[in-house]
């Protein structure tokens, strides 16, 4: 890394400030004004629109394996979905999914 300490801090502070402005954007501007129904209807799907797309590449092409498909991670993902549907409990699902991930890791990879 050849960047100076000042440049590194410029990145840190700039990224912090920019991220805050993105987070504050709508919450800060809209406040308690009513939003039109068509917009609310779209916003209801924000979470299911962003998160599946965010994790799909992590499941199919994990960076840790250099983008190679990995049976351990795919198996853990399928198990996590199954546990979630079965228990309907986020805590149990996270611990169950992590357990299956480690179990598969030591069974298959090791």
């Amino acid at each position: 890394m050849t960047l100076s300490s000042a440049e590194i801090w410029l990145v840190i502070v700039g990224l912090g400030l920019g991220s805050f402005l993105l987070r504050f954007s709508f919450l800060g501007i809209i406040g308690n004004r009513d939003l039109p129904e068509w917009l609310l209807r779209h916003l209801r799907y924000t979470a299911v629109a962003v998160m599946p797309g965010m994790i799909t590449p992590m499941i199919l092409f994990p960076a840790a394996t250099g983008g190679q498909f990995d049976l351990v991670r795919m198996g853990a993902a399928i198990a996590t979905i199954a546990i979630s549907l079965w228990t309907r409990n986020a805590t149990l699902t996270i611990f169950g999914g992590a357990g299956v991930l480690l179990a598969l890791h030591f069974l298959i990879a090791a």
């Binding site: 990145v11 991220s19 799907y45 924000t46 979905i81 979630s84 986020a90 996270i94 991930l101």
Partner: protein, 234 residues
């Protein structure tokens, strides 16, 4: 007074995220110091930016000696989804004081947003103050541990066994959050469009493919809901 009850409900919902936050904070601390950042700079990232994915991208680009403007633009693109979260939370938290909204904004991480919006949708009777209490409850275990784990990784260095699939803690938590959200056909359609969209737009640079896919998925979900309501009214 219901403030403490909703806070503790949120706190309990936030606890399992530690399974993700702790290993990830440690890995960030290790990666950042190995890239040549000192402990203060590494902590600066986790405290001022407080967004794992964007921090990893920024450090990677620092290592590649990318120009400052490119580093900022690329890492901020990773965080563009936060603006969507902000819009999505506005109908729920728009009535609280502006400084409280600023605090909510600072702590807006994926886990906090997802846990809060799941609660707000399943318990629409909550008042804005109760919703704020729940949100602060979720972030109370999560965010301080992000700082702590980063510090641990930065100061203790490379002591975690290599080869453990800890990167996969993130998709597991998100799956645990997303599956319960798929309550209607419209939610399922939005999720499917998001998955297909991100694969189709994989060629788009600066992580903007995810944003395109997300926008399309929101339109697909909203349109499915509109069609279903129309059909039900008939």
């Amino acid at each position: 007074m219901t403030f403490p009850r909703d806070f503790w409900l949120g706190f309990r919902a936030g606890l399992p995220f530690l399974l993700v936050i702790i290993p990830f904070g440690i890995v960030f601390g290790v990666v950042a110091t190995e890239a040549g950042l000192n402990v203060t700079q590494t902590m600066g990232f986790s405290i001022l930016v407080i967004a794992g994915a964007a921090q990893f991208v920024a450090v990677q680009l620092l290592v590649e000696n990318a120009p400052v403007l490119i580093i900022l633009a690329t890492s901020l693109a990773v965080n563009l989804r936060m603006a969507m979260y902000s819009a999505s939370l506005a109908p729920h938290l728009g009535q609280i004081a502006w400084w409280e909204r600023a605090v909510v904004s600072y702590f807006m991480v994926d886990q906090a947003y997802a846990a809060a919006i799941l609660k707000y949708e399943t318990s629409p009777e909550l008042t804005p103050r109760q919703k704020l209490a729940y949100y602060m409850g979720v972030v109370t275990p999560v965010c301080p541990m992000w700082y702590g784990a980063t510090y641990g990784g930065a100061s203790l260095g490379d002591m975690i066994p290599a080869g453990l699939p800890i990167d996969f803690a993130v998709p597991i938590t998100f799956l645990a959050l997303i599956v319960p959200m798929l309550r209607s056909l419209a939610h399922v359609v939005a999720a499917l469009v998001s998955i297909v969209g991100v694969l189709v737009f994989a060629f788009v640079p600066f992580n903007l493919g995810l944003l395109l896919a997300a926008l399309l998925a929101m339109v697909a979900g909203a349109e499915t809901e509109r069609q279903m309501t129309k059909r039900a009214a008939r």
